[in-house]
């Protein structure tokens, strides 16, 4: 680094007179500040480096001038005059550097504010993505619960649909059974007629028995009692037969009324409608399954994208660390400029006052320059301008 710097100085030394080089360098700085308005980091750094080099020339020339022992009073006066001019120039240079330093600190503050704002926005973005994912996750769980309910409902409604489909056939069977029961009743009605007829004949027989008992006189008294009981029995049988006949007639009427109200007239339409209901329910179930699969896929895709988003956000937050790196580099430049200007002012004040050799200050300047380069090299892995220790990883666990 030192060799590199000395090479630069030698090159400049052989090119231009002392004052001209410094004035040009200062002109570049002033132009950067005035014309660019917001010169930014490169607008500030480039002219600063030029001035550093030109000052190296200045110190070399001045030191050699001071090293020469003035042979006459006019030579000594020339050295003093040169020192006074250089001191005046350095004062202006210090004012300019002060302004540049302030601008650099402003740049630091502005980039820090922008970085902080960016971090907050990125965090809000991350939070929004996280909420979306939580919402989708919750919806997925709810959909799972709904799936179970829908499955149960579909099974229930399907059973009802099947029942409705089978209902006409069952009704047909019931009507057939009712007709058979009607036939049985009709047969019972004929039996009731037979009972009535038997009752009439029994009654007639009892009457004849009573007549014959009366003819027999006292010896037919017991038979007369039996004949009377038989007559009473026949009357009760006749009444029972009438009641059975009437009951059967009512049952027949009820059954015939029931058969008049038939479902069978609309059974074909009912079957078609029932079939449609069952088909509709099955289609609804298939649609729900499809929707649920789509929802699961959607959830998976969103989760994947959200993970990717979180990774990118993490990387972005890492990149923002550059602001801190740049801040430290700018602060190092400003501190080095302040130290350098202090040395320059001291050098030229003493030179103007004494006109003697001031070898210690150029030495301090060299050390300052070396310190700056060494410190800056610590950021070599970031900026690449100065090499850091080769081969060292950016991340190392001990």
């Amino acid at each position: 680094m030192k060799t590199h710097r000395n090479a630069d100085v030698s090159a400049v030394l052989s090119s231009r007179p002392l004052v001209l080089v410094t004035v040009i360098a200062l002109g570049v700085q002033i132009a950067a500040l005035l014309l660019l308005g917001e010169p930014g980091i490169f607008g500030l750094l480039v002219p600063t480096v030029v001035v550093l080099i030109s000052n190296s020339v200045l110190w070399g020339r001045a030191r050699r001038a001071a090293a020469r022992q003035p042979e006459s009073s006019s030579d000594k006066e020339a050295v003093l005059n040169l020192g006074a001019q250089a001191a005046s120039l350095v004062e202006k240079h210090v004012c300019l550097d002060s302004a540049l330093g302030e601008r650099m600190q402003e740049v630091n503050k502005e980039t820090e504010a922008a970085a902080m704002s960016l971090i907050r926005r990125v965090r809000r973005l991350s939070d929004a993505a996280e909420k979306l994912l939580a919402y989708l996750g919750n919806s997925n769980v709810q959909t799972g619960g709904m799936e179970q309910e829908i499955g149960d409902s579909v099974a229930f409604i399907t059973r009802i649909g099947t029942f409705v489909q089978e209902l006409p056939e069952r009704l047909e069977q019931d009507v057939t059974n009712m007709r058979k029961a009607g036939d049985e009743i009709n047969q019972l009605v004929s039996f009731a007629y037979v009972i009535k007829d038997i009752s009439k004949q029994t009654n007639l027989l009892a009457l004849n028995a009573s007549i014959e008992a009366a003819r027999a006189g006292q010896s037919g008294g017991g038979f007369s009692v039996v004949a009377d009981e038989v007559r009473k029995l026949s009357e009760r049988s006749g009444k029972a037969a009438v009641m059975i006949e009437e009951g059967l007639a009512r049952a027949q009427e009820t059954m015939e009324n029931g058969l008049k109200f038939s479902f069978l007239g609309d059974s074909a339409q009912q079957m078609r409608d029932a079939g449609k209901v069952v088909d509709s329910i099955r289609r609804l179930e298939e649609s729900h399954d499809e929707m649920h699969r789509y929802y699961k896929t959607l959830f998976g895709v969103v989760t994947e994208h959200n993970t990717s988003l979180a990774t990118e956000i993490g990387e972005m937050l890492g990149e923002i660390q550059f602001q801190d790196v740049v801040r430290q580099r700018i602060e190092r430049i400003v501190a080095t400029m302040d130290s350098r200007n202090g040395l320059l002012q001291a050098f030229f004040r003493e030179l103007a006052a004494s006109g003697t050799e001031l070898v210690h200050i150029p030495g301090q300047m060299e050390r300052l320059f070396d310190d700056y380069l060494n410190n800056e090299a610590r950021h070599g892995a970031v900026g690449g301008a100065m090499p850091a220790d080769a081969g060292l990883p950016k991340i190392e666990l001990f």
Partner: protein, 124 residues
């Protein structure tokens, strides 16, 4: 159980960016602006599972902080990572000797930072 990480840095940008990166990843985060404040929090009872510290800080720099943390009872094995602009071997060696667990040179990407944290915090 949520792991707690203490971040120590004098840069507000660093504190906010690293805090957000770690919070999004599910960590609980505490912060301090320099070594003195960090040490104060630890002495007041904060018991982080990991400390991530800058090196160049006012009041108390990272090297001093690491040495002081290692001297505290109960912090002998607490992992301490440095997150710094210092990339030179001499500084790393100094950090290692002070008791640092690892050396990270800024800037470190979010994924790399989480990867290294999960290496020193198994189960995190």
């Amino acid at each position: 159980m949520t792991k707690t990480i203490l971040i120590v840095d004098d840069s507000a940008t660093m504190l906010l960016s690293v805090r957000n990166n770690l919070e999004i990843a599910g960590f609980k985060v505490e912060t301090a602006e320099d070594g003195v404040k960090a040490l104060g929090k630890l002495k007041a009872g904060l018991k982080p599972d990991l400390v991530i510290t800058d090196i160049n800080m006012p009041n108390m720099n990272g090297m001093e902080l690491i040495r002081n943390i290692r001297a505290l009872p109960g912090f002998r094995f607490t992992p301490i990572l440095t997150l710094t602009t210092e990339s030179q071997a001499a500084k790393r060696d100094e950090g290692k000797a002070a008791g640092a667990t690892g050396w990270l040179v800024k800037p470190v990407g979010g994924a790399d930072l989480l990867k290294i944290i999960r290496q020193v915090l198994p189960g995190a």
